[in-house]
């Protein structure tokens, strides 16, 4: 199989230069070629693992457990204004 590196890079939202794509293509094909060994395993009727111990997710009461920490939590952001995250214009 030949993987379309540029398509997968766009799905991943990572810019790739042509040089990077030329290097990654064969590497991804080699990894996926190895992964194809999985096709040898008979998995008819086998339920896929969703949790290593098949444990149920615990429930908790729907109550506020922390205060308003907006400023703290926004402090690592590259750009904020009036409590909002600022990004390049989305709608023309």
């Amino acid at each position: 199989m030949d993987i379309d590196v540029h398509k997968v890079a766009m799905l991943s939202r990572i810019r790739l230069t042509d040089d990077e794509a030329a290097e990654l293509g064969p590497q991804l094909n080699s990894i996926l070629g190895y992964v194809d060994n999985l096709q040898q395993v008979n998995t008819d009727g086998v339920v896929e693992t969703a949790h290593p111990h098949d444990a149920a997710m615990p429930l908790r009461s729907d109550v506020v457990s922390n205060g308003n920490r907006r400023d703290d939590l926004q402090s690592p952001a590259p750009k904020t204004e009036s409590g909002l995250y600022v990004v390049p214009k989305v709608i023309e």
Binding site: R15, Q27, I31, V35, T43, E48, R69
Partner: protein, 496 residues
Amino acid sequence: MPFSTLSKLKNRLDAGETSAVELARIYLDRVAAHNDALNAFVHIDADYILAQAEASDAHRSAHGARALEGLPIAVKDIFCTQNGPTQCCSNILKGFHAPYDAHVITRLKEAGAVLFGKTNMDEFAMGSSNETSAFGPCRNPWNSDCIPGGSSGGSAAAVAAALAPAALGTDTGGSIRQPAALTGITGLKPTYGRVSRRGIIAFASSLDQAGSMTRTVRDTAMLCEAIAGHDAGDATSVADAPATDWLAACDKTDMLGLKIGRPKEYFVDGMDASVRATVEAALAECEKLGAEIVDISLPHTEYAVAAYYVIAPSEASANLSRYDGVRFGHRCDNPDDLLDMYTRSRDEGFGSEVKRRILTGSFALSSGYYDAYYKKAQQVRTLIRQDFLDAFEKVDVIATPTSPIPAFKIGEKTDDPLTMYLSDIFTIAVNLAGLPGLSQPCGFVDGEGGELPVGLQWIAPAWREDALLSAAAAYEGATDWTKKTPVGFDLAGGAA
């Protein structure tokens, strides 16, 4: 003697023979003397460490000692800490300061520990050699031309060279156990769900688990006891996990009645012959201690690496979508538009191994390929889990080599990602099955430039960390491997 155990340091503190401040100064001196050669620590703040140590000594005299009072504990750069940077050794998190502590960091603080710097690691924990770090490779104290293993390579090197008495690591496919093996220390990955993942930068959420890296089995029990337990802030932290008496489990001195499984798939052609012989000798020692060695089979072992390299990259591609230049982390200069900002910020911020894994995961999850890759891998994962359940009908614990090879040279495997992936062949299945695994030193083999350590891996049923600790404690008590120390690190820092 700077190569003291955590337990011994605790006894000396409790006896009033030393103080938290004195210990902090000793280890800070050692870091100053040796870190340039090893690159084990990527961030260390002496003033903050000494302030914590002073506060610990004050707490001890006012209120008595807590479980880890005054003990310096290094932590991998993957744990969010409110003090100082948290970068996961990635350029995309350059300058990031976490707005909260990871749950396990809070637990260490509550136990009175002194947080002792951030350690080197593979970028986003993706690697087996610590070579993908944005801070450059970490070196193995036993041979500085060699890698310390990964991804928790800095924690391993720091403990092996006694730059810290103990450290926390994380383990997604062997990232505690493999570096512990390659640097001659003890490392425990607890059962999935035993330790909260909140505030640990996510790699593959169904596999990630934090654990201990220490000089001895008892030290590992002390540290894990402090960080284990339910946290409502992590939905996969298990609320009704069976309790373990961590320290009592370490009192075991024999293996009478213990049935140890020896899986044939972990003793194969292609692995290093001297590593295999060393682990076989360790099993013979276990027989002398009273254990019965039972030949078993884990028939789906050969598919574990393939399943892992679908599941882990798939989860990573989803987890790492959060690095988009909006809420935290690197944003490129002068983006043309939103898409340009995403794609260029991520290109500039991520290293090549992280990109490789995100792309692999995006492909495996993409339309038309999901069933063939992700679903198939999760089905094979079920079969791997079943192999272990069947085996534990016959035996109490399983013993294997931790790594098929000893530490390799820096740069030796960086050209071929697949060869690097196969170095985790003996540790990955344990994560897929969510089981506890422990690596301890069991001997040395001749490498270029001297001896290199070999690790013995113990695997137990879910929640039976006590079984791992008992077997490992009995083996440790009958051998002297933990007393061996690397050459050249006994100079600075005086008597701890």
